[in-house]
Symmetry: C2
Subunit: 455 residues, 2 copies
């Protein structure tokens, strides 16, 4: 549920004259047209809009379940992927597994470890603590040329082969493009089980493909619920703007960006949703941070996502948010019911600083802090809006994730940019090749050396 | 080591005329005066500058070791603290323990779990997986009135008492003010072991007090090295600006803030330093985000810290950083030697997309990616500077943490603000009390109800 109370409270008459109801009416047609345009293009592979069909794709889930079935009795899954190949899985598992799943003795579901960096200490440290006989590795790269992922793959391959000999080939699942790239033929030649990422789905929109679903299935979380929630958001996408939360949120994000709030602070009030902020940050930054628009005009678009966590960051960031420059729009996520509704015990009945908590739950305290912060920020004319989830479960998480993808796509339409490419990371890749001495990059390597740049 | 290469490369002639050598000369006196003024005030308790003495304080460490000695054979430590009471410990332990310490079977040092939120699922989940017979709880609050921390304390107290009866009092260590507040008398009455936070040290500057040292000692990390490194930074603080890395970094941070870069992106290239970004974010935001300066004039100061991680966030944020608005200053942290110098095996010799990595280490790849990113950003006129640590160990981490505190304090001086208070979080606290029905806040509660604000 979308709640615009604090947005309206903060901005009436104070924030550069932005009056919500008027703006929504003025933009309604444009928003609805953007939604229609996106849906109309979704069957063109080159538009990278295939993610709008994923909530209804039971076939992919069936394929994932078949591959997963061989590993259900294993203890650990290592996921090798970076950016869009890891953040979705991290978000889902940290939200829906037991918060200390990996330390539990009676676990249902594998421990899932995401290797999303090229830190040698972390990679070798992980292989040191796991048993190769009960570990499955999932290497995720559409192209197979993602250096970070493939270097970790090399380390894992050697580790598995040393322990298992020829049998290791059954322990690496390759999630990659169905036809293109180098990982597909490599996997087929060696005999790795494979899963596909549809060509029409980019990395940061791939959470409901095999990329996110294999870790989710092996982690034993409610995958059907995730897809059902995502479908509910997708089903609402063509509703009129006046009653469409996805379009309204997109409008708020767009308008405040235009009015100079160059940051979007994503602040869930739930430790389980901590990594949803990371996932949103990638989705938002990589989709909307663009040098040129679709006509090739320089725009340098994109507001910067800032990931935070309530209540934790009240004791870290809220001082700045309240008293510092008015340069941010805040997105809060509230959870109506926490899983266990754990009560706060009245264990110090004589302490007035604690005994007033008697009979309350931690969830009530969390939500009181959220209301207090949202209110204090609105008082300081800092705009925010709030998503409320009934609880943190598959359905609610799937709904919000699909909604955030829809919102991002709509803002891309309003900005007139391509929200589905990432041209700005190319130079970094090429420079890395040159610095690592890859054949074919000698000229650039010499230039870098002359300029004093080295690894 | 501070490296300004990319700062100079990005800004010569392009960034609003900021020319580094000229600026440094112009500001040298002001910077040195700021350092002297801070040192001159450090013995006044009300100035909250006691953290400048901590690197030399062996007595505190001795006291911490004495308390810790009783628990060295335990399995787990739960730290109850939020903001400055947890971020320092989290940073130190994630940097210096084995990256998968908590999953290792042959651990040296306790597993340390930080409870820094009021999420009931997380608190009850943690107590579910730990054994109260071998767990020690450290409750950290200067005042004893931090609701988040004290509510978690109530849950832990009940849990320990249920398992241990009267013996539980030996299992809760209270880290608090030596005289003031409600936690000190409560602890002394019940008989909890206690440790002190000096009154002249604020939460976000408290990492080298018992707040950070008890988890560090029980986690068996090199605490002497930490303090030695911190002392090295402190020793350099009064050096002339021309050869003083702390003052130079402070100047870069200050100048770009003045010139409209309203974000500081902190981007270590090391998974071990991931949480250093979180710790810095609190230090920076809470110290410098202020509504008024020391004269009471409205300033709304403070640039926003953005926490990121290399290389991971190259596949998440760098698209925006390179192509989006030029509104950020970047701080990179490079690690010269990773712990094990893990080699990348040449396990796919026929793949040109992988075999060029032969003979390289993950550390080399990490640093090639860092150089590539810094260079690509400088090419796009995005300014950055870089700290290089020889390795991630106690001494290097201690050095950088003390330096970051010094830099923050100097920027506070240049801005003319009080970097050591946090008035902006007060309203949120009071609103929370009202929403939780605390006696004495009935009037505010009624106002909130009338305005439709509820938990």
């Amino acid at each position: 549920m979308l709640n615009l109370h604090y947005l309206q409270k903060s901005n009436i008459g104070v924030d550069q004259g932005l009056e919500w109801d008027t703006e929504l009416k003025a933009y309604a047609q444009k928003l609805e047209d953007a939604a229609k345009a996106l849906v109309a293009r979704k069957d063109l592979e080159s538009e990278y809009l295939g993610w709008m069909d994923l909530p209804y794709d039971t076939e992919t889930l069936e394929g994932v379940r078949q591959v997963a079935a061989q590993f259900e009795h294993f203890t650990d899954l290592i996921v090798l992927g970076i950016g869009g190949s890891s953040l979705g899985g991290i978000t889902i598992l940290s939200a829906l597994q037991h918060p200390y799943h990996n330390l539990k003795s009676d676990r249902d579901g594998l421990r899932v470890h995401f290797v999303d960096n090229v830190d040698g200490d972390v990679i070798s440290g992980l292989l040191e603590v796991l048993d190769p006989k009960t570990t499955v590795v999932n290497v995720i790269s559409k192209s197979g040329t993602t250096t970070e992922t493939m270097s970790a793959y090399l380390a894992c391959k050697v580790w598995l082969e040393a322990a298992l000999g020829a049998e290791f080939t059954g322990r690496i699942v390759a999630t990659t493009d169905p036809k293109k790239g180098i990982l597909r033929p490599l996997a087929e030649k060696v005999g790795y089980p494979t899963l596909s990422v549809p060509p029409s789905v980019g990395g940061r929109f791939s959470v409901f493909t095999a990329v996110g679903l294999l870790p989710a299935v092996l982690g034993k979380i409610d995958v059907e619920g995730l897809l059902r929630g995502a479908a509910r958001a997708q089903d609402e996408f063509l509703e009129p703007a006046a009653k469409n939360p996805h379009l309204q949120a997109a409008l708020a994000l767009h308008l405040y960006g235009l009015r100079g709030k160059n940051m979007v602070v994503f602040m869930p009030y739930s430790s389980r949703l901590r990594f949803l902020a990371d996932w949103f940050a990638q989705l938002w930054a990589e989709s909307l941070g663009k040098a040129v628009d679709k006509n090739g005009s320089e725009v340098h678009s994109g507001t910067t996502p800032v990931k935070t966590l309530g209540t934790t960051d009240q004791h870290s960031q809220v001082q700045l948010y309240r008293e510092g420059p008015n340069d941010k729009l805040f997105i809060f996520v509230k959870v109506q019911n926490t899983g266990k509704n754990t009560p706060i015990p009245n264990a110090e009945p004589d302490q007035p600083d604690m005994n007033y908590l008697e009979g309350k739950t931690f969830g009530t305290l969390m939500n009181a802090e959220l209301a207090a912060t949202a209110n204090a920020l609105a008082d300081a004319q800092k705009p925010s809006f709030m998503w409320t989830l009934e609880r943190v479960d598959g359905e609610n998480l799937g709904y919000l994730m699909q909604s955030l993808m829809l919102q991002t796509a709509v803002v891309g339409e309003l900005l007139g940019i391509n929200a589905f490419d990432q041209p700005g990371v190319e130079l970094g890749k090429v420079l890395t090749y040159a610095l690592m001495g890859r054949p074919g990059y000698e000229k650039l390597a010499a230039e870098l050396e002359a300029a004093g740049v080295k690894a």
